[in-house]
Amino acid sequence: MIKLRINGREIAAESGTTVLDAAQANGISIPHLCAAKGLSSYGGCRLCLVEVKGKRGYVPACCTPVEENLDVITETPRLLELRRLTFELILSEHPHACLVCLEKKDCEEYKSTTRKVGEVTGCVLCPENGQCRLQEVAAELKLEKVRYPATYRNFEVHREDPFFDRNYNLCILCARCVRVCSEVRGAGTLTVAYRGPQAVIATALDRPLLDSGCQLCGACVDACPTGALSERALKGESLPDETRSAVCPLCSVGCGLEVGLRKGRLVNSVPKAGSPVNDGQACVKGRFLVRDIVLSPQRALRPMLRRNGELVSVSWDEALDGVAQALASKPERSQGLVLSSQLSLEDQFVAGKFARAFLKTEPVFDSPDTLALSAYRKMLQTDGPTPDANFEAASLAAAGVIVVAGADIPLSHPVLWVNILKAAMKGTKLIVWNSGESLLDRWAAVSLRTMPGDESVALDELGRWFLAHRPQAFWSSIPGGEELKASLEKASPGGTVPPARFSEEQINAFGELLDEAQDGVFFCGPGLLNRPGAEGILAKLWNLARLAGARLIPLAQESNGRGAVELWPSAGPVAEVLQGLGEGRFGSLYLAGTIPPLGAARPDFVVVQDSFRGANYETADAVLPAATWAESEGTFINVEGRIQRSKKLVEPLGEAKPDWWIFCRLAEKMGSRDFLFRDSTDIAEEISRTLPALHEVSSHHQKKGRTAFVREDRKPGSRLIASAPVSRDGAARTALAAFEAWPDIPDFYRGLNLREQFRGLRRLREKTGPAGGSREG
């Protein structure tokens, strides 16, 4: 800690921070506009100028690193004068009528106004009104008038991109947007163009953001201190009157969100600053789609039963009776239960219990990576968890090398990408191996490319580098080492092996990087895990990671993919169910997940339990409307192994009910007394009690401020696996092949296809992948 003085006070500050940071941490306010946490210092707005004893002139606090014995004064009459003048200059180029209007107070109380106007000429017409940094600074400086004639740059407002507008008439050129886009997100979509009074924030040749590499993550909107960047959802709405914390359900990163509500209605969602997972960053889905997912016109809101060929609205009681009867009457043929990996632990727990008790089957998850994730979990338990499967995204910078295999992380897990980028910028080497190009390649020290299907052979090639570079002693020292060595040698060229996937150079670059670096991490994602034969690939990747002294972490695709395999490790692959359906083996199907339209393969009785009217809704025999994650409390496990509880934000729409409630009531109808849970907390406690790995699901651990992770058994030693485990989905390969269009980016929430529902998302995917269009403009 460094000791310095600010305004006569002794302050202790962390080395590497700025005077502005130190002041803010100690409750000393210095007005600033261009400085922002997590962004490089800029020093452009000049509001934070301070005096330092012994130094001539003034320095910006945001650019001044703390030093031992620094003596800083933040307020003198001259400094205040300068601050005021500088702020007035800023306002001379920003519509400020309302800021200096004498009627300000009355206006706020009495004037109602719409903000859907063409031009913003003052605060009352600005979507940022009430959350604008200029207003804050004006209040702090007690601004009364602006002495300088105003200029209006008269830009055409940019409305051509989805979700948010860009009105550069309000821009103060603080360049926060440029910095966050390039330094934190790695997209480099925005730049300052031209110079001097012509300077403006722009994209190349003023193309739309979608043509300029933008991922619509909204980081710039959140960084912007004025109304220059504002989301359209807020226009015409008033600001939220309360915010509630939630965990985003739209991918397995599980970002912390602050959801805005007004009069109990959802308004918007912004990433939560300081959240250990995402620290103020989000992606297009968590940032812009949440409200309209929950309020979608595609919601299933009423329980329904098919009577005389028609689906009719019925009461819950009737619906549950109808389903219970139908399920009880078909014991001789198989009954299937397909669950969504996006359901909370509580929902999945109860559902699986129900499946075992009444359907005499294990639950099946609809996500294609379930099998691979299960296999991985088994490998961990039998072959030793040194190291383990948990990690913290925020500490990825400690890794010497990160290998990303089979995952376009900037698209599939955008906020995990943010952490990988941070690590890469700090010196972590990145090795990328995908079948197509991605943003990762721009930072990759080594980029490897293979066609889908070639991964197994490619892994052998990479493994052979270690053959050449490890002494015999190494192989004998690890359990299973000798067998692995033998199998690698067998697969060498000269045998019946297809030609090389990689050049000599690439393999060497790969091997040398891994050798040099300490503490490596291998991530593998949907590109490998969603494929047939994924367990075999995973085993080889496991071996490779072990040879390199690195950890292997598979990335589940959906929000609770990791949770699913913790709860139900013997869950079957959905491919088996699809095959079974095709062979007519099922008498009934309980669909609390998403599968392709059943068509001719449909069994006699189909229950659809979903929040949305998805692919199989029209042909269902019974519809049970489920609450979305926003309408029910639930616990989720993210890619890190972090256990997070998401609170209930709003009352369920229509007659929708939480999934766990539906299963419990159904169980009761079918005669069980084992499902008497009062609320999701009860279920959480049960999970915590019965599954040691999930001990920290309990309420005690979910208290605010505590972190909770999946507990892992620690067994010493680590095995290499010579040959791949027997793959369960060998037989179902054809079925899945037909289903190969399963996207590697989870652009769906339960039965709702987000690309169909949201034009903005569709346009984004069309432009920037996967497998579509050039990456940027």
Partner: protein, 153 residues
């Protein structure tokens, strides 16, 4: 302009960001301006985005996004030239050509530019047409200078 031609040009450079202005100078020397497709291609070559390249090239006065007229007239706006009558010469030039600095005449014969010092301060006002320097230019000279170049191919 074909990508093949541009690639030949780029082959003379490594992939280091510090070569960006040199590359832009070369592209402009070859094409007379920076064509839009070149922005993307240069960005790829340097492993950055087109937006970054655009931000850099628009910062500098030297780089233009549109072709210029057949003859480029650059009038010096430096202080010495200014006090020696350069302001009047410049005003006359704008009047004669009917364009503002940065602009090109409708018949695409002339583009007008300004510079803040050519280094001929002792003998100003200085006007450079293409790469020929004219010193001690007077208001009366402007018309004949323009006429001279209008005749040339």
């Amino acid at each position: 302009m074909t990508t093949a031609e541009l690639d030949v040009l780029l082959r003379g450079f490594g992939h280091e960001r510090k070569d960006l202005t040199r590359i832009l100078h070369k592209v402009q020397a070859a094409y007379g301006y920076i064509p839009a497709p070149a922005i993307r291609r240069v960005a790829e070559h340097l492993n950055t985005t087109a937006n970054e390249v655009y931000g850099v090239l628009t910062f500098y006065k030297a780089f233009r996004l549109e072709p210029r007229g057949r003859h480029v007239i650059t009038a010096c706006q430096g202080t010495s030239c200014h006090v020696r009558g350069g302001a009047d010469v410049f005003a006359e030039m704008k009047k004669e050509l009917g364009i503002e600095p940065g602009g090109t005449t409708a018949d695409r014969m002339f583009s007008l530019e300004t510079v803040n010092c050519f280094g001929c301060c002792a003998i100003g006002p200085t006007v450079v047409v293409d790469s020929t320097y004219y010193s001690r230019v007077s208001v009366a000279d402007v018309r004949s200078l323009i006429a001279l170049y209008r005749k040339r191919k």
